[in-house]
């Protein structure tokens, strides 16, 4: 299932979602070895940031809720990681965030010098007081941050969107106009809240958090469907993808690559290998290839 994506060859269409495991080079390599064609680092911010207190990730059975809160060593404090990554033998997305257009630019410019294969800007995280989400809900602010970042980086740019936008297609289209090379959809849904009725307190320390995993899949499918209609650049589709059939579904909605995060919880770190195999089997059984089914749900009926 070798695949071309923005000029690079990937061994398969599986992507590790940002914020999942990607804390060091070793673990990213292990994820790659476990059947993941393209891995994403945890989002990198301008300053050192501890993120929120625990509880910050809770399983809900049919998905999870998290308010990890964008912890980051800060872009200037990661020399060890960059050194390790220099000699990597796998393709890499570096995810970045900021609190202002200028911060996105600073972080992305610095990161670009470290030569990841792609940079992803996370303009969609709901778990911080001020970071990210505000950009991703609005086409104009999304356009601003994308064009600013495009000016200073030397690798293709992926923009990660939030389902909370009123019209995600419009936001995606603004990003494309501003020069984005691909869209990643979606970040977590909600936010939501879980209250423990015995202590009468929200369980997450940050009170609210983003939903992920199987329960958000219908929202992810709809968002990818909307984005596919709106843009001509490729889409990394994710949100609740857990099985090969889920992957086929989001590809039919319009995704070219398929991201996985929460499903590691349910199927282990080799979920990438499993899902890729299930996809291949399904495609073979139906005598179809990947290219034929991208966006297929737009064509029938």
């Amino acid at each position: 299932m070798t695949i071309q994506f923005l000029g690079k060859t990937l061994k398969n269409p599986m992507v590790l979602a940002s914020g999942i495991l990607g804390n060091n080079c070793d673990i990213l390599e292990r994820v790659h070895e476990n059947g993941c064609g393209l891995v994403t680092m945890k989002s990198i911010g301008p300053e050192p940031r501890d993120g929120h207190k625990n509880p910050s990730v809770i399983d809900l059975g049919h998905g999870m809720i998290n308010a990890v809160g964008l912890p980051s060593p800060g872009v200037l404090n990661m020399e060890n990681e960059w050194d390790d990554l220099k000699n990597r033998n796998f393709p890499l997305i570096a995810s970045v965030y900021g609190g202002s257009v200028r911060e996105y630019q600073i972080v992305a410019e610095f990161v670009s010098l470290k030569k990841p294969d792609f940079i992803e800007i996370n303009i969609s995280c709901p778990n911080s007081e001020k970071h990210g989400m505000i950009f991703g809900v609005n086409p104009q602010s999304s356009h601003d941050v994308v064009s600013a970042v495009k000016k200073v980086i030397k690798v293709p740019l992926i923009v990660k969107l939030t389902p909370q936008a009123l019209d995600i297609g419009e936001v995606a289209s603004a990003c494309e106009d501003a020069g984005a090379n691909a869209i990643c959809a979606i970040n977590t849904v909600g936010p939501g809240m879980v209250i423990d009725i015995e202590s009468k307190m929200p369980v997450l320390a940050f009170k609210r958090g983003g939903l992920s995993g199987p329960m958000i899949k219908p929202v992810a499918i709809r968002c990818v469907f909307d984005v596919y209609k709106a843009v001509n650049i490729p889409i990394i589709g994710l949100g609740g993808i857990t099985t090969g059939k889920d992957a086929i579904e989001i590809i039919m909605a319009g995704a070219s690559l398929v991201g996985i995060g929460s499903a590691i919880r349910y199927r282990g770190i080799d979920v990438f290998k499993k899902v890729a195999l299930e996809m291949e089997t399904w495609l073979k059984d139906h005598d179809l290839c990947m290219e034929e089914i991208i966006g297929a749900a737009h064509r029938e009926g």
Binding site: L21, D196, S199
Partner: protein
């Protein structure tokens, strides 16, 4: 294996507190937990924080955790009383592998006794059981086990004066053949236990500690080289340890920053 649904967040009330000494207390809960020695749970004190704790006692309908007062959270925890409310999630992690045959040894350092206690209760009577602590009063569970313990303390107030590794080496050099060593305690201690085992070609299992968030292998907070401590561990065998560059050297802070282990241990969660 625990199913994922078993691991959902539930609230429990402290059924009993047993004060072990000035800085250690054991909290008992009335709740049937599907459990394997070495596994841990995430413990939430509402309004404070949530941290991983090993299960230090387990029966069909009860379990307990033993806490050493260190920072804000653990001090709150040992100050809790009967009826107080905590949230738990889990159990998580792999636990010790107890299927192996032959002569076993257990090496516990300080609060590292906690995860080893339910293991010891599952081992043969001839197991070599070494337990070290600062002073006599910090010896956990003094009357709990049927297996005889070899004690050591930093000040010699009880048993051998010195380190657990002294006692372990003495056993080996005195001709005792060992087939498996289980250990938990400060990482530097475990590292030396591992080195001794390597030198004598004895397989060993150590239980590691890293900062954790999710507890189920998703967030990446606890990664240690290629290993995910909360899911692949917390117990690691010799093969994994040999490849684990970060063992006794590095750990991630809450921010994800990779630092030397000494810096990690002097960091206080805010």
């Amino acid at each position: 294996m625990n199913t994922i649904l078993d691991q959902k967040h539930i609230m429990l009330r402290v059924e009993k507190k047993h004060v072990e000494n000035q800085t250690h207390a054991t909290l008992f809960f009335h709740h049937a937990l599907c459990f394997k020695p070495g596994q841990f749970i995430m413990v939430w004190i509402p309004g404070i924080d949530e941290k991983p704790y090993t299960i230090s006692f387990h029966s069909k309908e009860k379990f307990a955790i033993t806490i050493e007062a260190k920072g804000i959270f653990s001090k709150k925890a040992i100050a809790m009383e009967k009826g107080d409310l905590v949230g738990i999630r889990g159990p998580f992690g792999n636990g010790f592998d107890i299927k192996s045959q032959g002569q076993k040894a257990v090496v516990a350092g300080g609060c590292g006794m906690a995860p080893l206690a339910p293991l010891v209760e599952n081992l043969d009577k001839d197991t070599i059981f070494i337990h070290g602590a600062r002073t006599r009063e910090y010896i956990l569970y003094p009357d709990r086990f049927k297996i005889e313990r070899l004690f050591c303390t930093d000040d010699g107030s009880f048993g051998h004066k010195g380190l657990v590794t002294d006692l372990l080496e003495k056993q080996i050099t005195s001709g005792k053949h060992l087939d498996m060593v289980y250990t938990c305690g400060p990482e530097i201690m475990m590292y030396h236990v591992f080195k001794i085992c390597e030198a004598h070609h004895i397989p060993c299992q150590v239980s590691l500690e890293r900062y954790m968030r999710c507890g189920f292998g998703v967030c990446g907070a606890c990664v240690c080289g290629r290993q995910v401590v909360c899911r692949d561990g917390p117990v690691f065998g010799s093969a994994a340890l040999r490849e684990m560059k970060d063992f006794n050297t590095k750990a991630l802070l809450k921010s994800g920053k990779e630092v030397a282990l000494s810096q990690y241990f002097s960091w206080r969660c805010k």
